[in-house]
């Protein structure tokens, strides 16, 4: 296919023709595979897992380097500003101690109340911890790569969180790495509620690192800038009471919020078992149906 006319050689002409056919075949195969992966997204899970395993360790190793470099810069910055920071931290610590005592009291009370109600709740334990070592670069989808895979017990659909909040949910699993659907992806929908007054809301990603929040009930816009959104546990995919996002701007029927756990600065992420394991099986069905 190098030139339009390879000359009088029959052999060259046939070669040109067959390479043309091969390219057409490539397009057709590609379209078929694309259709399969759109209709039945789980078909190529094994392949994707292998690819994750190939890139995961590289990313993990390089991650150390970039973190070290970042650490050097911020470390130097901290020294520069030490006196002021020290004062600030002391003030914060005082306030925190007070809050902690209050929180402990509330926790105690909560335990007593729960015992009184005989409320059953699964004990949440950690499946695995990993680092977030990469992300999707160029696509409308928002994925991150986590350095923990099925060898660590990670399974599809498990929620991922960091110390600061909800990160997302596992979608592809390799042996040593897995792919996380971030909260900010457009297809990610998290049932949540406002921390301030418990109003149930829906958190949906916007594909650009922020999330859209809408109240479940139509009415007055319940949000205020600075409000914290936490998961409600409805639906059973995500555990309740995990911080999700902070409201930054208001819109007519909802608002836009920033996820509390920024995957770019999250060092460790925790994979938790699905809050209600049956929910994952139930979720897999309609997802396959809605994909055209």
């Amino acid at each position: 296919m190098a030139t339009a006319r390879p000359g009088w050689s029959r052999r060259a002409q046939y070669g040109l023709f067959f390479s043309f056919l091969a390219v057409i075949a490539g397009i057709v195969i590609g379209l078929i595979l694309l259709a399969v992966s759109l209709i039945a997204p789980k078909t190529f899970d094994g392949l994707r897992g292998v690819a994750l395993d190939v890139t995961g360790p590289v990313a993990t190793a390089l991650h150390e380097v970039s973190v070290t470099a970042q650490g050097l810069v911020t470390g130097a910055d901290d020294y520069w500003d030490a006196a002021r920071q020290n004062g600030e931290l002391k003030r914060e610590r005082k306030a925190m101690l007070q809050r902690m005592v209050e929180a402990k009291a509330i926790h105690q009370e909560n335990l007593q109340l729960k015992a009184a109600l005989q409320l059953r709740q699964r004990v949440r334990d950690t499946v695995a911890t990993g680092r977030i070592v990469g992300s999707s670069f160029n696509s409308p989808r928002r994925f991150a790569i986590l350095s923990a895979g099925s060898r660590d017990g990670v399974g599809e659909g498990m929620p991922v969180r960091s110390a600061s909040g909800l990160v997302g949910r596992i979608v592809d699993v390799g042996d040593f790495a897995s792919r996380v659907l971030l909260v900010s992806d457009r297809t990610s929908i998290v049932p949540a509620r406002l921390l301030r007054n418990g109003i149930p809301v829906i958190v949906q990603g916007r594909g650009d690192g922020t999330v859209e929040i809408r109240p479940l009930e139509v009415g007055r816009n319940p949000f205020r800038p600075g409000d914290i959104i936490i998961t409600s546990g409805t639906g059973g995919l995500y555990p309740p009471l995990v911080p999700v996002a902070r409201v930054v701007t208001l819109k007519d029927d909802g608002g836009i919020a920033l996820p509390l756990s920024d995957p770019a600065t999250t060092s460790f992420a925790i994979v938790e078992p699905a809050f209600e394991p049956t929910a994952i099986a139930a979720e897999a069905e309609p997802a396959a149906d809605t994909a055209p």
Partner: protein, 173 residues
């Protein structure tokens, strides 16, 4: 060119590197692997490195690899970048075909025309990404794709430059 013939034989021993035939494809795979870099992007404004490398090579030379190689190269890209499998296979093969047609139609080429062709291809790539994401259920407005589209178009000269350097290196010039 008597003078050239008499000058010191600097150019002896210059030959294509071993495996020069496979260098272009290898650089495309390497570009696809850039997505394994430990950069966590929350906005997704990075260019599609694999595709940039592919069109840079194809615009620089008519025969960087047999045309059907685009399909396996696209497959590798799909695997590493997490696109739906088949997306790059189809798009990259179609790109090879489209650029062959462009080669036949254009009477003359200069840098601006190449950049324009690349910009059209990149825009098409982004648009298809957006369409496919909509099919899956991620229906974001197309305006959100514009920043990365601009960045990719601006990144094309860089990638074209890098590719031309690699090409000179592999041919031992």
């Amino acid at each position: 060119m008597v003078r050239a013939a008499l000058s010191s034989p600097k150019r002896f021993g210059h030959a294509p590197r071993p495996l020069a035939l496979f260098v272009p494809a290898a650089t495309v795979i390497a570009a696809s692997l850039l997505s394994a870099l430990p950069i966590v992007s929350t906005s997704g404004w990075f260019p599609d490195f694999g595709y940039l490398a592919l069109i840079s090579w194809r615009l620089l030379r008519a025969d960087p690899w047999p045309a059907w190689w685009a399909a396996p190269l696209g497959f590798v890209n799909d695997l590493f970048t997490g696109y739906p499998i088949g997306f790059s296979i189809a798009l990259w093969s179609a790109t090879m075909l489209a650029l062959d047609l462009v080669d036949r139609r254009t009477l003359w080429r200069d840098y601006w025309i190449e950049w324009m062709v690349a910009a059209v291809l990149i825009a098409l790539n982004e648009w298809l990404h957006w369409r496919v994401a909509r099919l899956i259920g991620a229906d974001i407005p197309f305006s959100m794709m514009l920043p990365q589209l601009l960045i990719s178009v601006c990144a094309f000269p860089l990638s074209a430059w890098a590719v031309s350097r690699v090409d000179r290196w592999r041919l031992g010039r």
